[in-house]
Structures are given as C-alpha cells and as structure tokens.
Symmetry: D2
Subunit: 354 residues, 4 copies
C-alpha cells in the first residue's frame, strides 16, 4: 500500500496532481483542540507555489476545506479530513511523457508498477503537490506540539553546494528565506538563478531541530525516533539522504569525540555536545532533536535529456515543457517541519500511554 503514516495519529494522503482534489485524513487527534486557521494558512503559504522568483509560477489558492473532524475550528474526535481543490490544472503539458518517461521521475517505475493505468498527468500521486496535504496535517500537529512546549524550527543548510554558516535558532526559522547568514542566502539565490537561466535545477540540504522535547519519547528498535522520522521524511519526494545529529560525520570520529558527555544545567541532566542529535537508543534525551535531509535537484529541467520511447524501445531526446521549480529546497522546508511534527506528535501520544 502506500499513503498512510502513524500509529497513534494516522494520516492518509489522497489525490493526484490533476485529480479533482487532493487532501488528507487525520485520525486520532484529541477532541476539543482549537485549530488556529490563520496560523495554519501562514504555514501552508510557506510551501505554496508562485510566491517568488525561485519557484514554479503555477499559482493556487491552496485554501483547505475542512470536510470533517471539526465543529467550527475545534476538533471533535472524529477523523479530520481537509481537502484542496485542484483548480489550475493543465493536463496537456504531460501528454508526451506517457511513452517517454522523464529521467529522475517516477514516470517509468509507475508505468511498470501500475501497468499503464497510473495517472500520469503532472506526476499523479507522485507529484510534489501532495506535500500540501502533508503540510495541513503537519501544521496542525505543530500547533498541538507548541501547546506542550515543543517547537520545530528549520533552515536551508545548503543549496547547490553553497552552505549556510552559523547555528540554527528560532529567529532563523521565521525568515522568508530561512538561513542564518543572509550573505549565504544571497549566494544560494544566485545559484538557483543560474540554474534557472541554464534550464537546469539544483538540490540542497535542509536542517530541522525539535526543541523542548521531554526525555523518553521514542521506542527501541524499529520505533525509535530516527525510524519514526525517517519513515515519514523519505515520503517527501526528492529526499535521498537523512542524518541525525552529527550524522555521516560520526563515521570518521572516535568514540571519545562523538560521545556526548553528560552534565547538569539548571538542575537538569543534559549533554555538553549534541552529536547524538538528541537521540540515544532511539529515545529522546532532552537535547534538541536535530536532523538533516538531502533534497535532490528537481528532476524536471528545461534542458533536453536522453530517455527511451517505451513503445519503440528506441533512445530518444526528451524536451520537458511546463512550469517547474528550479529548486524545490525552499518550498520543502515547511514540508520537513510538517513531517517532523507528525512523527514527534505520534511519539508523544505513544508516551502518554505509559
């Protein structure tokens, strides 16, 4: 199967890029929680297309309709379903991709898996557009976490090899282009502009931190915080790598260097460093839970590319028309927060049982 996540809350995402609507159902939300609809709307706007020079010009209102699960704006305990109508669809753009799949896309794998019955228009269910319902669900969970003193922040750590400098803080996360060092941010934007000018695209890395976590969230083995977060973050299209704390850098460290020494601050146990990214044995240790995800460059590019005509089995040159982001990293930032929020909220509910 496919498009569900969670054990204590459960989200199910439905829709295709060009279907009548896309949406999400969220089961297991506590009743009586008011959803701040304006805050949710602001959160959704961070991933909406057409906002600025470095994203696709496809514009959509992306106002979710809540069809169930709330009375007014308060959760009622029943499954919450929110939906966004697809108003601005241009199916004609994709007609030639049925038989000549786009490199880097799911066109070919979907064609084989679904025996040609897949909805190919706009990438169908594999479209990045499906992160909109993810953000609805995640935006709600983020609000619920904030009520428990848990905050999720993030930044663009790099784009096209240009790295941000400095430490992620809450004030960074509020920026329109969330980097610590704005000069780095300008260099990243230039990198995107160059790629766009070349009919090309660039990737990047996004860093997320979850602050204010209690000690003890997460479970051993396959329900550890890393597992829980990984199994939702890899559901965001284009993610190809994920690391927690010092991540791949630990592979070159010695134990004496990587181990975070325990100490006491303000009467509480904490660690001097945070190579572990706030997770020991899959369980939160009270330090910030940090992870970084590698996002590949948008596969849809203007440049001609080599592909194969699946009918004739001849190699062909493919030209992709249509509107595409030269870099999806900025729009993927709230998606990472959404994914983290859902995973953490699910783990929080798990812990309440104990």
């Amino acid at each position: 199967m496919s498009s569900s996540y969670g054990q204590n809350i459960r989200l199910t995402i439905f829709g295709q890029s060009h279907s009548p609507a896309i949406g999400v159902t969220l089961e297991g939300l506590p009743a009586g929680q008011q959803i701040d609809m304006e805050a949710l709307q602001r959160f959704l706007k961070r991933r909406a297309p057409g906002q600025n020079a470095y994203s696709t010009p496809r514009k959509e209102a992306d106002l979710p309709e809540f069809v169930s699960g709330v009375v007014g704006d308060v959760t009622c305990g029943a499954p919450l379903t929110a939906m966004i109508r697809n108003t601005n669809t241009r199916s004609g753009d994709y007609s030639n991709l049925v038989q000549t799949p786009r490199p880097g896309h799911a066109d070919y794998t979907a064609q084989v898996k679904y025996h040609g019955a897949q909805d190919y228009a706009g990438g169908g269910h594999f479209s990045g557009r499906l992160t909109a319902p993810l953000c609805i669900a995640g935006g709600i969970c983020k609000q619920l976490l904030e009520r428990e003193g848990i905050q999720i922040i993030s930044r663009i750590a790099s784009i096209g090899g240009v790295k941000d400098q400095g430490e992620l803080t809450a004030s960074t996360a509020e920026k329109e282009f969330p980097v610590v060092d704005d000069a780095c941010g300008e260099a990243m934007k230039n990198c995107i502009a160059e790629a766009r000018a070349d009919g090309d695209s660039v990737g990047g890395v996004i860093e997320v931190a979850v602050l204010g976590l209690p000690v003890g969230l997460g479970d051993p083995m396959f329900d550890g915080m890393e597992n829980r977060i990984a199994s939702i973050v890899f559901g965001i299209p284009a993610v190809k790598g994920l690391e927690f704390g010092s991540g791949f850098d630990v592979a070159a460290m010695r134990g004496s260097e990587n181990n975070d020494c325990f100490t006491v601050k303000d009467g509480k146990v904490c660690t001097e460093t945070n190579h572990a990214g706030g997770i020991l044995g899959g369980i939160t240790n009270g330090m910030p839970l940090t992870f970084r995800a590698a996002v590949k460059p948008t596969p849809s590019i203007g440049k001609p590319q080599q592909s194969v005509n699946l009918e004739t089995m001849q190699v062909e040159t493919l030209n992709i028309v249509g509107r595409h982001d030269p870099c999806i990293v900025p729009r993927a930032v709230p998606c990472m927060e959404a994914a983290a929020a859902i995973a953490v909220y699910d783990a929080l509910l798990e812990e309440k049982k104990g």
Copy 2:
C-alpha cells in the same frame, strides 16, 4: 511500542543482553520453503563476537534453536520462532552504570523512560546483541530472495575516515574483511588497532547493494523503498545516517547531472548512471538498489568519561569495564544485509498481491 517490523512478513524481536534468551518471531513466511541451516549458520557467524582481533572477546555459540514454524527445516506456514540462549553473561560488569549512565548509550534515556525498571545489564533490550535475531530473520529472507534471483551484497565503505576505493561487487562481499581494495582494508584495521590501543573506538560507513530486483517494488509516499529500508536500518544500534544512491552528494548537483538518463541494454530499459540508487518515486527501477549507512563509534570505551550520578546529580568520571568492540562496523555488515533482506522481501510480497 517497539520491536516489530513489516507488513507482509512481520518480525518481532525479543530479549535482553542478559535475559535467559534472545530471539525472533517471523510471521508471514510462505509455507514449504526449506531453510538452508548451514548457510544460515555461516551468515550468523559473520556478526558473531570473538572472531578476530577487532571485536569483543565475548564468545557465544549463537546457534539458534527453532522452536516453531518449521517441520524439520521446512517452513510450515505458522509463525517461525528462533531463539538463542544467553550462556555467557556477566551481569556484574554493569552494576555501576545504573546510577551513572554511559555517554552515547541508552542508559539514561531508558532510565527515564522506564522509571528505573529497565533491564540495565549489558544494555538490556538496547544491546547490539539483539542484532543476532535480526540476522536470523534476515538470513532467512536472504535465502528466499536468492530463490527469486535477488542478491544482497555489501562492503565496508569507510572506517575512521579511511575510505575503500573501487566499486562494490559480489566477490567483495564474500571476503572476510569486505572491502574492494585490500590495502584500504589494512589501513582500516590499523585504524581500529590504534583506537583499541588508546582505549577508544572508531565508526564507519557500510554500503549495501541489492541486485536483480524487478521493476516496480515499493509504494508511493510512506511505503517507498527508502522509507521501508530506513525504518528497519535505523533499528540497528549506532546507525545515525542513511543515504540512497548518490545520497547527500545530490544536494550539490544540478538536475542535468543527477538525473539518470534512460537507455536500453539487452532489450531492457535501464539507466546510464545510478545516482538514484535504483529507486524512483519510492519504486525500484531495475538498477541496483544501493544505500550507505553511517555507524557511530562504539560508545563503550576504555577511556574515562564525564557523566552524571543520577542520585546525587553530581558530575562524575566514569570508567567502563567489560569487553567491547573497538569498532562494530565489520560485525554490522551482515546486520545491514539482514535489514535490507527483510525490507526487500516484505516489499516483494506486497507486490505479489497486485
């Protein structure tokens, strides 16, 4: 909860480092499959302790007893449970760790999570020893995959910053110290020996490739191959990062570089390069599925470390006695194969429904 994985096969791992036994139950195996017990034993031996200079001297036979699910050595369709008795336990080694947790271990987080009721001896359920039942389950799945023409190979990609050179092939995977370039292997072993001499430890990276996969395994969103593999691989203690194909390197690439062009070989669609690691949209594309996992240095080291006495809330110096691997990377190699085998076999069964 904790210690189960899978949708079409389901494994549940039980046991603590010093409990009477550790084991695994595997549901959903097809009936009538002969398990090659000798091949399984050889596979388990690859992760067994006490084999050589760079692993812990704790020696255990690690012969699994099959208590259910087979008639002779043939699966019968009922849940298969295999168990390993813990014969060589030395609980006394760990008595001082109850109140002064080891940095880098789950001692502290388990203490808080389980309110002091956890089995602290030897790391309890968080011990690396629990990868033995994972390898039993994975070794069985590996055999079943081989019958469908799917092979899983792996190598040590780096240890302590020393990187292997060359391309992973099946012959590499069969080596006692699985690296392509044996000179690199010697350098890695020296690196381990130095760490051991210093009472320290080192980490590394393991690379895995799954060969012979059909096109179409994996599902969209949260059941993609990356998600499925991630949610089991992060269950292996000490894994802090995971990347597929070119992984974090894609973040610095352009789309025209990262996209794998389609071509035709031997009448079949394939790609010229494999930056995608054999996965597009979460679904296998017929190329080798490749991933790399970062393994942190063993947290148990001989050097004195700073910790906190949880009773007095005073900072203390901790000296860990007992037997520990200066580098668990070599023994983690078959664990990665086991994890991959279980995830891939689960996805394969999923696909058979369709």
Copy 3:
C-alpha cells in the same frame, strides 16, 4: 483510533452526519480496474433513505464524487477517495440532546469520551449515515470479487421476531425486499408499520452468504475469516450479535451432528452439510461462507423515554423529534454485503502473496 479497516486494502471513513461531507478513502486497490459506476449507484440506492414507507423521509441524492484514485472510471493505483456532500441537514433537530442523551445512542458515551467536544448533531460520526461511504467501498470490492467469480448475497432473516422461511439464493438477494418467502416479507412489513404507528421501532437479523470462494482464504488465530468479518461487521451501528454457519445452535449440538462430513462432488472436495459456514480453522473450505448479524431496533423512537439531564443530574423525560427509520434492517442489508465484500477482498489479496 477509529475509522480504518484492512491490511491489504485499507479503508478510512470520515465525516459526521451534519459535516460538509462524508466519504471514504480506499488504499491498495489494484490499478487498471474499471468501476461500473451505474452498478455502484444501484448498490448505493439499496441503502439510501427515503425510498419507501419503512425508512426515514430524509432524502439525499447520495451521488458520490470521486476526488482521487481514478482516471475516468478506472483505478490508477493511488488512494481512491469518494465523497458525498451533506445537503439536507437540519441541525436544529438535535439541540436538546446535548445535555439529555438519547437511550440506546452514543450521545452519552461520546459526551464523556470527547469531553463535550463531539459533533452531536445527527449523531455525528456515530450516525448510521456513515454506512454510505462503507457501501461505496464495499460496492467497489463487490465488483472486484465478481470478476474473480465470488458473489455476495443476502436476505432479511427476521424482523421483530417474524422469520423468513426457506434457503437464501441469488434470486432472493435481488428482490426489493429480500426475503425468500414473500408472505413472511409482508408480515415483516406489517410488523414495521405497527411499530411506526406506535412511535416505536423493531430490530431483525440479516443473513449473508459468500459464494464461489476458493479454499484457503483466511489465516489462523486473529486473522481468520470470522475475525476479519467480525471486526468490520460490528462497525455497522446497531449490530449486537454475529454468528457463522449454524452459529449459536452449535452450542446445543453433538460433534457427530455438527461436524460436516467431507464428500466429493464434481471431482471436488466439499461437505455434506455446512454447519461450519464455510470456515474451518478460520480458513475457507470452499463451501458458502455464511453469517448472520443481529440488528437492534432503531434507538431513536417517538415514544417518550427516561433519560438524565447531565447538567442537573436529574432524571428527565426525553421526547425525540426528527425523522427516523422505524426499522433499519432493510437498509442495513447492503451494508452487510459491503462489509463482507471488503473483508473477503482483503483476505483474497492476502492470499495472493502466498
């Protein structure tokens, strides 16, 4: 949580009686299956309200909108979501029930469980109206089963103590009032009419048979056919009992009487009798799978009833206004078929893995 069912297909039902819409998401459907929309509409019409003298006069078109998962009327492999708008809502009818719960309804239990945040209008998520999306999902599964030679039929076995006579056959199931003996049917209708005249309601029993099943569906223990069917059938509001084959009658039988002797017909193994209802050890034996479900009388009645004012904690007399079925048994018949279809189709997909 709540409103999801299934392992190989997964349905999630959302909506409340008076929310903007109700609907269902169905994951795991095979791609490329054409849905016969007219046949589905005919099936849905069997449970729609306002059709005749013995159901509520609330009339709704109940035309589902397919918002995802299909291209035209063919499944595309993505989650299928279908929705029905709630057009004919009269929230005012229910205003007095918030503080004085209706006997036999979920008003009181929902009030306590959701701390007063539940959507009380029209029964909210507990309304029988939520069986409409169940019937959408079940109607689709029924079509898919028919393509595999599996047919689901049903009848009203009794209403208000009046029992149907004779054996259930396919032709019975097609009747507008599905009983074998139409004279019994008339007696049942009279029974309903009398209850209505008294401002009261009556219950009944529905019998279902699944024909054409292969041997081998269902799994041991908690995934047997009885378990699978029970866990969905008890999701239909008002069901208070469920029995398979000879059901409760077996309790008074001897083994020699209840055991179905094996024999051979047309070269195939079958049984002389079918006390087992086609299930041995949780697994289909090729005989018709039969079950019967007890449906309680509609709890909403016109007669004054004793309840408690939850604010004053005083006993009060409650008068329920609004439109209600004097007997929901006829409308529950297709719901039982839908539930059976979903459970059986899920088990069929499970078996395809093996």
Copy 4:
C-alpha cells in the same frame, strides 16, 4: 498473516501442538509492573488439560518460562516472551490424518492453504493447545486491569443445551465448575459424560462480564469494543458465535424495550437495564460489559466419520484415535477471560493517550 493482536499492547503467539515449544510475545506492557506468578499459575491451571473427568487425559505441567521482558518478576519495558515446552507429544496419533482430513478440523483447509507443508501433528498451529500462550498474555493483562479496578468474570451459560440459571456474579466465577446453579452444573456434567460414553462431544455457551470499566473506552467504527473483542475471541478455536448484551434477542425486541433508560445511582449516570451489554456506539457506558460466545462441540470424536482420501479422492470412513476432550467448554472459560482482558487492556491504553 496470522497470529498477532493489538494496537497498544501487541501479542504474537507462536508454536504448534507438537513443536519444541509454544509461546507468546507481548509488546507494549508498561515497565515496572510486578507479575504475580502464583496467581498467573492458578489462572493457567484453569485451562490446563488432565484436571478432571471431562477433559483430555494429556497432562502437561504448562509452567511458562519467561525468556525476556522481565527482571525477576517485574516487567522491564522490553517485549515479554514466555514459553511452554511441549513435553508430552505423541506424533504417531495423527499420521493417518494427512491424507484423510478430520471433519470439523482445519486439516483440509490447512492442507490446501499451505500446499501440504503444514505441521499436521496434533493440529499444528490450529491446535487448542495454542490457547495456553493466550492465557499467559491474558492472565497478565487481567492482573494489570485489576490494579485499575477492572474485574473480569465468567461462567458456563450452557452445555449441550442445558442452560445455567440466575445471574453471573464474581462468586460464580471462582467455582471449579463455574455455574450459578450447581444443579444445572450437574446436569451439564451428565451431558458431557453421556457424550463421552457415546464417543461423541458437546458444545456450549460461555458468558463473560467485565466489571468496573470507566465510561469512554473503545472507539467508533472498527475499533469499537465489540470489534476489538470479536477480533480476538474468534481467535479461540471452536467459537462460532458472539453476542453482546442481549445479543440476538434484540432482533425480536422493540426499541422502547431494548433501549436502556438512563438513571442516576450514587451520583453517577447509569442505565436501568443492560441490554446494550455496557456498550453504546462501540464505547463503554460504565455498565458491565457482557458478551456470550458459542463454542462448538469438539470436532475430534471417537465415532467413525465420513471423510475423503485426498490422494485417491474416494470417500472413506475415518476413525480418530488419540486423547480428546468430550467438551472443551470448561477449559475455554479462562480463554474467554484472557481474550477479554487483552482486548480491554488494549482499549484502556488507547484511552490513556487522549
């Protein structure tokens, strides 16, 4: 798959009648709970064979070994696995049943499902012996429920058509032959003795009540208390029917009769009657949760029976040798309590999240 149950605790049962051992793994138990091993042993003894005249003479110690999940007799948060060795196996008894399946047993369906690879000895995984691990898990849950003021009691409601008289109370449940009216109990025992003398067997009905439940356990739709209980109770071999409260009797009632009027006692809301069996809309209402399960007569009988030789496809007369209960109802009583305890405890943990 098969042999797992639960969402918040999860039990997995393994073993076959004649495998080296049978057992159960229980995940999700809270840490720090002391298991009263003597009380557990007393509970297990209630279902053990060989206790009296009306059960099989196969005698087994049935002392569970706790191989994981406890430190001493206190839960430690890791999966708890308990095992019972199969010491008294006589595989020879069953050799002729491979090709000539026993009527009423899973021999034939297992043979087809598992293509002849099933463990046929003693019924394999389908044996009633697998209720021993169910009782281990249930016995533990029962103890945990008692600490929360929730008590589970039961009685034999009928055997072979002989019905008990009077109301189930806690004192009944403690009897060696748990009926209210001991004269009825004597008649039941006679009924069993007659069946045994005839080489035959009899079935019966078991009634269970759960006392002391809070209002609000259970969830709407497919996670209602009826669904949760049904999906475990039908996992007990031989159960063919299940009803809650007044069950099938409600089908002949009018709403005014079946609706339980609310009233106030000791300052708490309750109902005057309990036709609903303590469940409204799937959710507990604070009244005793009551259900009754129909248990078929033991299919293994001494009388010759007609079966089919699966090799020759000829009808044959089958004579079953071996030791069998003429009536399993008395031994099934604690199994019902165990099933109820697990289902209720799982629902209780669910509620703690909210």
